[in-house]
Symmetry: C2
Subunit: 217 residues, 2 copies
Amino acid sequence: MLHIVPEIDTSEALTERQKAVLDAALRLLVEEGDQLTMTAVARRASCSKETLYKWFGDRDGLLTATVQWQASKVRVAQVDGKGLDLASLTTSLERFASDWLKVISSDTSIALNRVAVSHAGSGKDNLGAVVLENGRFALATRLKPVLEAGRQAGLLDFSDAETAFRTFFGLVARDVQIRLLLGDRLELTEAAIGGDAARATQQFLALFKSNNRPQGL
Amino acid sequence: MLHIVPEIDTSEALTERQKAVLDAALRLLVEEGDQLTMTAVARRASCSKETLYKWFGDRDGLLTATVQWQASKVRVAQVDGKGLDLASLTTSLERFASDWLKVISSDTSIALNRVAVSHAGSGKDNLGAVVLENGRFALATRLKPVLEAGRQAGLLDFSDAETAFRTFFGLVARDVQIRLLLGDRLELTEAAIGGDAARATQQFLALFKSNNRPQGL
DNA sequence: AGCGAGCCGTACCGTACGTTACGGTTCGCC
DNA sequence: GGCGAACCGTAACGTACGGTACGGCTCGCT
């Protein structure tokens, strides 16, 4: 039987009750891991399974809606890139790095990425795309204008913003996300995150500062 | 019912037939993604389910054995660190980077990491630990002596080999693995891998070469 | 040849879960 | 008050799959 899912495709036409249901599903996902059964969601959200199916079509629809719902809530801070000097660029980069580390080490992000990775192995890949779109790609969209502004201000030197971003991404994230996804304990304290963000930023600046560019790149 | 798995714990007491079965399971894992049912493995390996249960205890045991079996086959090249000069250090690092990119972008690695990530969400975490142990941690074990040798030879300057390794790891892998796990198309040609390996190596050297160390680190 | 161990193929069981169906209740609206 | 839509709770159905049982075959050993 084919289902036409009503208004949950990409827009945000969610009633408060529906948001509450998705929040319950999200909590269940974070706490119970893979035990996200329709029965469990219905019980947790105090709603009927019939309602779940009417609203979200099938289990996949519920999963997708849940991921999109959480993704729509995670927004990395927008940064203004006007009148940039080195100090403000540094703090901007540190802030991005710190925010990103906090996001990827949060229980919610881990649970969401887990389910998206699992889902990517089986046929349709929408979940992975949604997670990437609202995570890594959203970060790139926010960060690139900062990098471009830094280049315009003569502070940074790079040929391709995407490449520069990916280097920054690698310096910040390193092996953190994959280790967390694979179940490695690796608690990141607030202080450690701050230190990592500062280190990554300094390394990035060392590689891309226009007056200190290493030869051979 | 409790099962005592015979001799499949950590050692390598596998008969040829058992290896063939695990190879079949591995192929199934890579090709079919999540459809790794006991029935499918038995059919693919032309063996009986009874044999699977006798050899591997239960589904988890089969999964673990499959992951360990593949992990035992992936060995990053050991590099000798004696009599190091900058050129040979550079080629060593490039080779490590290139090998690692090839590994994490292979279908087998993606499938294995997917199943391990899925598994990590549900209770026991052995699979994730096995993958990490034979992947990221094995790489660190192989690479650190090279870094140490580079430091002994006065070519590199760092205080902690682990930190230096993690930076190298980040510069090499960047966002590749998470994007692949999430189903992002991102084909890495041989040439692209070579270029990435060279770039990562140059960036790493720029950050850690002893005579060109950026201030503030 | 006779025997037993190991394994293949397959049928079978139990259960978990996705999905559907339905009676009862709440609530907005006329 | 009366009506209908939406929804809750729960029972029921179908199926897929993990796990078990069993008959038959091969093969090495004596």
